[in-house]
Symmetry: D2
Subunit: 335 residues, 4 copies
């Protein structure tokens, strides 16, 4: 039985993790900590869990967490994890971090993108927790940098092409549409219902902080410098990300060729389904699945992928990583 602590219990990713752990046969939540401010009793915070989780939310205390838990999930905004990861690791715990604090490996990149000095000592051994790319490195890791939601959908959509060197590395576009929960639980005008309901809009065109994450990971996959133009959009739904990815092919390939390539690349993946038609985000909502439809138009590969931004894009993938870390069936609690 893996004992789970969560720091940052008040956000949507934390809630999705609680939902999933309730269905996990070999794990349970043994500690919940709020941060930065007190978030009140769980039954008020998330009425859906009234009486279903046996612990209450308390301020984070490393010593108590070390006693109560085997692993701590940091469901925190970026820079906040920097304070907690180190002490938790020193206390002997495994750490799975939902923030971006340990995702960017290139020297200076984290500071450039997030405006804060990196925790270089721990960054050095952190593993980017995308099992489909790094499954071998995860079981031995102590600190998992859980991937961002947009990068998860985009990287999985493009990796097979980039790995094989089939596309021009300087000519990749990712056009993503995300549900509103991706913007977090803090009320603001942008995500006030009458503002974003019944509306689609682009934002952070070419300047979203997930763009360098996609670029770095695809560069590692392809062993080549890549450029990605990433444009996220807000769509009027709770959950889900659809990413339509465009990449110029370096050789002539048919839609069938490319479909075969994807089926082969992901044939043993428990959560990836290659589809013959463009998938709906609805087909994966609430699950850890990724549906991918690759095709070819003119000289371009066009790949549409869908994920649940809170599950495969955060809590589900984190649990998948935990399963690998602790030797559970990789899909435990996720099927």
């Amino acid at each position: 039985m893996t004992r789970i602590g969560i720091i940052g219990a008040s956000g949507y990713a934390a809630a999705d993790l609680m939902r999933l752990v309730l269905g996990h046969p070999d794990a349970r939540i043994t500690a919940l900590a709020d941060l930065p401010e007190k978030c009140g009793p769980l039954a008020k915070l998330f009425p859906q869990f009234s009486g279903r989780i046996g612990v209450e939310v308390v301020p984070p205390d490393i010593r108590k967490l070390a006693k109560a838990c085997d692993v701590v999930f940091l469901a925190l905004p970026h820079t906040a994890s920097l304070t907690y990861a180190g002490p938790l690791l020193e206390a002997g715990l495994k750490v799975i971090d939902f923030s971006a604090d340990y995702r960017l490996k290139a020297p200076g990149l984290y500071e450039k993108v997030y405006g804060h000095k990196a925790d270089e000592a721990n960054l050095a051994h952190a593993v980017y927790g995308l099992p489909e790319l790094n499954r071998r490195d995860i079981p031995g890791a102590r600190l998992i940098a859980n991937p961002g939601c947009y990068p998860t959908g985009a990287i999985l959509a493009l990796a097979p092409l980039v790995r094989e060197g089939l596309v021009a590395p300087g000519d990749i576009i990712v056009d993503s549409k995300s549900g509103v929960s991706g913007a977090g639980r803090t009320p603001k005008l942008l995500t006030h219902f009458p503002e974003c309901n019944e509306s689609v809009q682009a934002y952070a065109i070419g300047s979203h902080r997930h763009q360098p994450e996609i670029v770095e990971q695809l560069g590692l996959v392809g062993k080549v410098g890549v450029e990605v133009l990433f444009v996220p959009h807000l769509a009027p739904m709770d959950r889900g990300i659809e990413s339509t990815c465009y990449a110029r092919l370096l050789q002539q390939l048919s839609a069938a060729d490319i479909a075969a390539l994807y089926r082969k690349a992901y044939e043993n993946e428990p959560f990836i389904v290659i589809r013959d038609e463009p998938p709906s985000t609805k087909h994966v909502v609430g699950t850890n699945y990724v549906h991918i439809h690759p095709t070819v138009v003119g000289g371009r590969a066009v790949v549409s992928s869908v994920i649940d931004n809170l599950t495969k894009g955060a809590a589900g993938q984190a649990l998948q990583n935990m399963n690998l870390l602790f030797g559970h069936d990789e899909a435990a609690g996720l099927k």
Copy 2:
């Protein structure tokens, strides 16, 4: 050409008023004032009006408003109107108030419900601006108390029965479902998209401040003390209120009897449509119309009405009142 000023330019009712005035043949906006804090340029505040309204938002200044306007609409939260109505009236302007500050006539009722002393001098001559009830009194008024959104739909649904003394005055239930814009434009958790989207919930059961307003107006209509149990619900849509009203009949009436009664009662009303089937809020969204479907089940009248909470429930009705005040066609800018 009636010259319009709006104090409180940053809310949804103000925005709906701007939208409607743009289509009014004999009125235009000549002043916009923000309150309580500065709300920035109009093109940022409401991008839909970029370049379409010739004035900018400035702090409220009674003297300037008196020069620039014939009428001022107070699109303010309750108690804020108390500060402005008096001075504007003294400056010779007509005032149409969207707040509840001049709606409740019974001595002490406003203070009891809203916890603030009433402006009794002006309350005394304010007219409750529901044209279907008080059309005669509106043209000569100086201060119009524009009705609440829920009361508009509920009162119009019940008035014909109450006026004729056909229902037990102590046994009336109003079960309303409102779009989220009714909660205003200030972001809060309740109206954060991922919280209220895909969800219905009751709130303020029997304790909403619109209940005394419905009670008082129906009492005036029926010349009898009435009791109303009012339960509002939040529904996942931008605009619209559906109210299903239940009242025990004092004599045996058929659905046809009651439909005939409603058609007769509202036969000359430009904005009321009696429907043979339960109406959808969608049928009236963006308009000043009220669709009403009255029927009988067992010994009860059941009446479903729909309005747009921002139009007939606020800005449209206010414009209808302005038309009556200034001698325009009552439906100008509203058809």
Copy 3:
């Protein structure tokens, strides 16, 4: 391991049952049958189950079902179950019927409401599968009439008051708001997205076929004839039913009295949560939970309940019944 067959695999209740069974530790789906027409391969029908369920959809065949299954769920429209329940029972299977065909016990009531002769022989021994009322009778049953979605929410909201004789049995109103999946999966204008999105409307006022079901069950609970005025509404969301129930109290009770009564009545129920505030449908979506908020206004009890219409209102409750039938933990696969 309980082996499950489903006849009528193409609807939303069947899909929700598949979703739930995938998480059940001691049950799996061993047969899927379509009816009345072929519905094509499961991966096209419900792409969310691509590769996750090991059987394909075939025409119903009693003999094969009898071999492959321990229990068959009939996810069929009313009257269609009449054809299948008998033969399946004769073949020794347990049957859980989602339709209304075995729900109405009073002689002639089914025929009056649904216009078709009842299967009286099997109706006689069918158990109305609301575990909170009939838990004792379920384990020994052969045929379970799974309750309707609206009746589940309404009956559970009112049963404690009716059982204790605290409310006037002739003065009960149920005002319900349902997500659109309750209308089934067959496309029609009413449920075409641009028609029902952003809209609320009442329908079948006082004439919905779930009204007699609510009446009969509450009558059994209270051992008294009751009258219920039931008005359903369509709300723009996928799933969820909120029911606000109004009942005239026969004695003076406070909100605290009534809350205590409900907590006591449901203290051992695994899926019922008594809430201090009106619940949101969102708090129960995807789960088998019922959240209930009882209160008192004037002389009336007002009780708001929320359920997921496809889970507690159909597939989840059916699985709860199956758990009781086969001796599993009642909450297996549902927590």
Copy 4:
């Protein structure tokens, strides 16, 4: 007073035209015809127009239309307009066609894309009714091919760049997200509420019939052969299209350069607003406006445009064309 007839009164574009004409100072609807099947009385078809439009829907009759109308709008699916345009023109009427039947000018292109022989005689003189491109040719036209919804947003987003030869004509991508009303009013599974609500999906990747329309018009603008990869997506909202357009720049330009270019190109356009930030579809819903935000990322221009698919994308643009045809203020009924 321009007298308007509509053939095809039962669809969403026709309804939006009716809504707009009700606010037009110099036009009114004098004939409504249904096709292909009878659509029943208007009050049932579109309850929002109960009692507001003085004519009823009858079968189309060229002679009667010729007497009652000055212009007929064909709100028909493609190929259906081929039957009506010719006879109406011969009867001396102006015709504005919402379908694609007269949009594609290149020999054989219509037949290739729509699988039906073109009406070449009338195609020859039809004018593509995008006033921002063809304003001079519209007043003298007899037959207007009203642009498609996607092409309207995409062409206006790209025309300034293509006209000036600033982008590589072979490297243009248009990624569009449309509300569901774009799919028409006929119920089907794809647009059944519980299927498309809370979901985004791509469709017709590279094969949508609006792609050749965009290609042909941009080619005429740029006097050069262009290639466009067009990928539409369905988004869970009633109305609105957001198009994010990607084009490789042939020279180095800053975001400021390109913004200046767009402001200049559209400085006299009554319905185009150049925005400093990415626009929301909500900012234009219900209006004839187009909001465009052009920027530069790396070596690519990225332009986001939003329109209401039923207004600027159909009925509003058609009315704008009618205003030009009949010498009204171009914005009459549209501001």
